[in-house]
Amino acid sequence: MSSIWTIRRSATDVKLTGLCGGVAQHWGIDPVLVRVGWVLLALSGGLGLVLYVAGWLLIPVEGSDKALAEDLFGESVRRWPRELWITLVVVASLVMLTIFGWFSPFGFGPAIVIAVIWYFGFYKGRHGKPDRTTPPAASAETEPAQLSEPQFVRHPGPATPFTEAAEAWQRRVEEHRRQVAADNQTAATPTHHWPAPPAANLSPSTPDAEAAEHSAFLAEPDPVGIYAEPPPAPPVKMSGTKSAKRLRLVSLIVLGLTLTGLGIAQAVGVAIPLAGYLAAALLVIGVTLLAATWFGMARGLLPVGVLLAAAVLIVTAAGPALRVPFATSHHAYMTVAELPTAGDFEDFGELSVDLSQLALSSDASYSAHVDVGRLDVTVPKDANVVLNYTADMGAVRAYGDEVQAGPELTGQIKDPQPAQPGQRTLTLNLSVDAGNIQVQR
């Protein structure tokens, strides 16, 4: 039972989809450890998210052999080869790593650590060593004197054909054990064989009708049906309690009232951006989930909350509200001596430099760098300006025209105004990692 293809999502230990519970149950480890490991994996460039969604779609819940992907995409996906699914998961993981890997808080470290722990601490421990729990057959045979008297379980009720056959078989096994023990004591190199099993069909000449009946009984693989496959357990529903349903109804009413209130406020003149509506709805879902801690979570609340949270983050980040926290630095220099030798630097935000009043007594150079954001430089009117720029990603505008836009920008721009005799040269070395460079006069 070590193959990953036999994993089933748990129907009893369910937090989101039962995947972590199923994995923990499959490999016999603490489900909390599996969940912590999966969260760490999700922080490794989103790798855990891809694997979780893949597991949710492709792994059936226990008691069922039908994966969620078959419900969503039809029965035909069952015929897709396993290699195709592996390829899809690998491609999705690579895409996720490419998109989100660069700002992953932990890099790929957790994924590597988890893989090493799983391989050396678990997989190799179970597959690399021989099974010590089952002693070799030879050692059992070479120690016949240590055989103890077997303790057979007796059926307490009235004798049936099955119990009589079982007792006969037990007696037969015991006779064989004793015979082997005797042979080992008398012979140096014993060779023994198991007696032939009872014949399934006795010949018609057998006089003992009862023995024939026993033999026929034993010939059937499961004569009394005690090894019948148990019926599959129905999947446990997330939450179908009456209080959970009531809570969902209340949350829907509160959500409707909240959005209606915001709409009325907007109608009377209050400016309410889209982020306001989405955040208010998310707050209602969040408070409902807090209440669901005690009353039980109604189905659908969590997916709605996840979608709303993603929408709120995107809309808020794209809106004007988030531009405020960007740092804005202003510098103005009048003389060459004031220019910082190491240049100016801003890690996140806007760096605005005013050199329009700079008195150039000699040729000079100025450097500035912004990690993420905007670099804005105003140059003096009477100087010959040479602009050297570098941008990993972004755009460069100079003197009202867009020079370049896109990734890996680098170049030099000469001053568009004609050079004057005796004019001093100001060399600008401007760079951004991601953002815009703008130079104007």
Partner: protein
Amino acid sequence: MRKTYDVVALIFGLLFSCVALGSLWLTFIGPLNWQVIRIVAPMGLVAVGVLGLVLSRNHQ
């Protein structure tokens, strides 16, 4: 009889509420103090994680 809690609902409820309140603050009131959030947010996430672990263990 021991009281049981839905830990998943609690964790996600806390996270969603915090995100919603932050967004509402940014939208209607003004800028957030990111210096404070840089300290409070990781500590809050750790606290939420510890809370979830403790409640999960008690639940089991």
